[in-house]
Amino acid sequence: MKKLIIILISCILLLSGCWDTREFKEVKLGITAAYDMTEDGVYKNTILIPNVQNSAQGPGKESTQFLTATGNTPSEARTNIDRRLSSTYSPAQLDVLLFGSNLAKQDIYPYVDAYYRDPRMHLDVVPAVVKGSAEQALKVVPKSELRPSEYIEGILDSEVDTTNSFESSLQAIGSELYEEGEDFALPLLQVGDGGKTVSYDGLALFHKSSYTGKDIAFEHTTLFLLMKKQKGKVARITAKIFDGKNPEPVNYTTINIEDFSSKIKSRPDKQNKVRTDIKLDLTVMIQEYPQDHLSLNELPKVKKKLEQALTDQANETISTIQEANSDVFGIGRSIYGHYPSYWKKLDWEKDFKEIEIVPHINVNIRSRGIFR
């Protein structure tokens, strides 16, 4: 009994304050943020805050609020935003982080540092690069969308499903950001239709923590991601397998990748310092073959053509990567892991451009669809 009283009294004495309460209702949550660099080198931060009206039936209606502030550091910009809001601004639930290409080309690390450092921040933010001004992309609010705040996130998510983009987050790029001999790519967005829509435009290649200015074009992203061993729910590739036939669509075919396996092997090589073989096996279904009539006899030919076309695509992508000096396949890290003494002799900064990367693509046509 005595013990109980002592415990109770000490509890009451100790618990007589609520030091860390942050009421959810008194916080304004940013859902999307855009970081830009203005012409005169000042950092500009725009955020999108959804405001929800209370309603008795169902979830309330949403209205969006945009705030833009400038500052020398991200925190300063955040303070500047905060003083214009009725309640505290919190980026703890941020979903998408947009970087204007100007800013991304310099260095994105200073702007994301706070996300890594503060335990309250959301590390699952999807970073993306916008060609041109990120603010402009953020302010695109199509009327048809039910939840305007989720527009950009929706674009990015749906591209992940179709293997045009991959599930990236600040946490996921974190190790690549720090690691030597490994770089990353981020989704690239572009404002289109005269500022009415935002479209997904491929992958922006980074070197260390800055945007190289080179991208993997939208047409090549699927193949690139498959080589990187990432596949969404569906993966489709359209390849040009014939030349000069008329009308134009007849030259193309679309395949649906059902299964794939990808192996990236790098080893030291005398000629080119490093030789990397990317072995990609695809099990595909022909989804579209506008030439009609795809007979069994023709399949080996189509397979050959497909392999050729895909290898061309891959080579194109690889040369872009090497030009950008963005080691997205982690070849350098792999060399360091397997041949640590050889790695010390390399100057990866320069050598990456000279290494040989050879794609070996093997296509296995499993099905022609139900129409022969």
Binding site: F24, V52, P59
Partner: protein
């Protein structure tokens, strides 16, 4: 109890002597004197009837309200006529010459027959039995299974148990407690299955009770509990004979009370409060599913409000993206902080519950509608409590009612309060500490010296969180240390 020292000038209090321990008082040959003594001892109570028989030489003394005239006719007057007034020829009589004994017998519903000039008197049992019919207990209904229940008559209750266990080792030990009330208590157990040490401990504790009256099972359990200050009940109370018998066969002790339909079962574990007789009457898979539901409801009942408060007040990072706008929309315009909201809503629900209990059922349902629908809706529209908080608290109290045992359900509802407070101060860490304390406390509690809450080991799983088919439950619970650890004569260890 160092805080409250006893005062020195205590009033001197006369010691009450229990009826069965009264010193003998020799009766005299004078009828008048004897009657006078009895009258005085019974404080001239008006229900004391003295019936002088023709000739004024013999008198029949009895307490009017607790005797049965029919029985008197049958056992005394009719035989008297047959034997021509010779009382010594009547069967079923007791003889005595201790007047105090006569008084005690009067109180127990007997009639005293006295004869002038004779110090010996005769006692006849003419007690009027007032019993309620055997009905199913209202608070422990089952869908399948036997529908009888204990009532206020201890004899009938023992009858119900004896009928179920027809074996000579079923032992019944009667004790009386309370100096005025002399309440009869029966300890029922199966010798050979029960741990004898536990019986001894229980008897010792019962004998140590010293009080004028003992009226309810709840009061009794407070006297003999290991930890009275604990929030958790340490005796399982039931009004169902089938539940009692199944517990007896596990090796536990049942405590029956005269004039009380409640039966206490000890020693119990925490898990026993989550078992219902229904479980053993349904398919084992269904029973297991129900057990899971109850386990879930336990967790829900004690943590849900505090969890919600911690999320809304501390860690809104954990709200998934898709839920942000519904949650925000619901709580944006609420005036109070979440803890006030929660306490407000808990009070509303408790009010509805308390008011519903004592009202007759037609009005009770009205209360449910008024309270639940009208207040629930209005309180949200008025902006006092958010939609979500109504859901949270309603779910919590629903979950607490899932517990088959009423006491445990009450304990759980009280337990939410400290957790609410802790979570509103320290968030999740507060809940963690609160639960830690609760669990350590549970581990400390003992029921009759045996552990109350044991960590679940693989073997115990069979009848705690899941219920396996009966033939797989070969062992009695290890906690009871029964002298007969297996449930059948064939010892088969292959499954253990």
């Amino acid at each position: 109890m160092g805080f409250f020292k006893q005062k020195k000038n205590q009033p001197v209090q006369e010691k009450v002597i229990r009826e069965d321990k009264m010193p003998p008082h020799q009766s005299t040959a004078s009828l008048e004197k004897n009657i006078q003594y009895m009258k005085e001892e019974l404080r001239n109570s008006t229900d004391l009837k003295i019936r002088l028989l023709p000739g004024n030489k013999q008198a029949l003394v009895y307490l009017d309200d607790i005797t049965d005239p029919d029985k008197m006719q049958r056992y005394i007057f009719e035989p008297l006529l047959k034997t021509d007034g010779d009382i010594k020829k009547i069967k079923d009589r007791e003889e005595n010459d201790d007047l105090n004994k006569a008084v005690s017998s009067l109180l127990a519903g007997k009639a005293v027959y006295m004869i002038e000039g004779n110090a010996t008197f005769y006692l006849f049992n003419v007690q009027q039995n007032v019993t309620r019919a055997i009905t199913e207990p209202v608070n422990e209904k089952v869908i399948k299974g036997s529908h009888d229940g204990f009532n206020e008559d201890i004899k009938q209750n023992i009858n119900l148990i004896r009928r179920r266990i027809q074996h000579r080792s079923l032992t019944i030990k009667k004790l009386t407690v309370g100096d005025y009330t002399e309440s009869e208590i029966a300890l029922v157990y199966v010798e050979g299955i029960v741990n004898p040490g536990v019986v001894k401990e229980l008897e010792k504790r019962v004998k140590n009770i010293s009080n004028d009256s003992l009226l309810s099972a709840g009061a009794f359990s407070e006297y003999i509990e290991d930890r009275t200050y604990s929030i958790f009940p340490q005796f399982l109370s039931t009004e169902r004979p089938d539940k009692t018998v199944s517990q007896l066969m596990e090796g536990r002790i049942a405590i029956l009370f005269a004039n009380n339909p409640t039966c206490l079962i000890a020693p119990v574990t925490f898990y026993a409060f989550y078992q219902s007789p229904d479980d053993y009457n349904t398919r084992w898979l269904v029973a297991t599913y129900l057990r899971f539901i109850r386990l879930f409801s336990f967790i829900l009942a004690i943590t849900l409000p505090s969890f919600y408060i911690a999320v809304v007040g501390f860690h809104f990072e954990v709200i998934p993206e898709a839920l942000i706008s519904p949650v925000l929309g619901s709580i944006r315009d609420i005036a109070y902080p979440p803890i006030v909201e929660a306490i407000l809503m808990v009070i509303v629900i408790e009010l509805i519950r308390e008011s519903g209990i004592r009202l007759p059922s037609p009005i009770g349902s009205t209360i449910g509608i008024v309270g639940g629908l009208v207040i629930g809706d209005a309180i949200v529209t008025a902006g006092l409590v958010s939609n979500l908080m109504v859901i949270v608290i309603a779910l919590t109290s629903l979950a607490s009612f899932v517990v088959p045992s009423n006491e445990m359900s009450d304990s759980l509802r009280i337990l939410t309060f400290p957790l609410i407070i802790l979570s509103s101060v320290l968030g999740f860490i507060g809940i963690a500490f609160g639960l830690l304390m609760v669990l350590i406390h549970l581990c400390r509690v003992e029921s009759l010296g045996l552990s109350y809450f044991t960590p679940i080991q693989f073997r115990d799983l069979k009848d705690t969180i899941i219920r396996v088919p009966q033939f797989l439950m070969k062992r009695r619970p290890e906690q009871l240390a029964s002298p007969r650890p297996y449930k059948s004569n064939e010892l088969s260890d292959e499954n253990d």
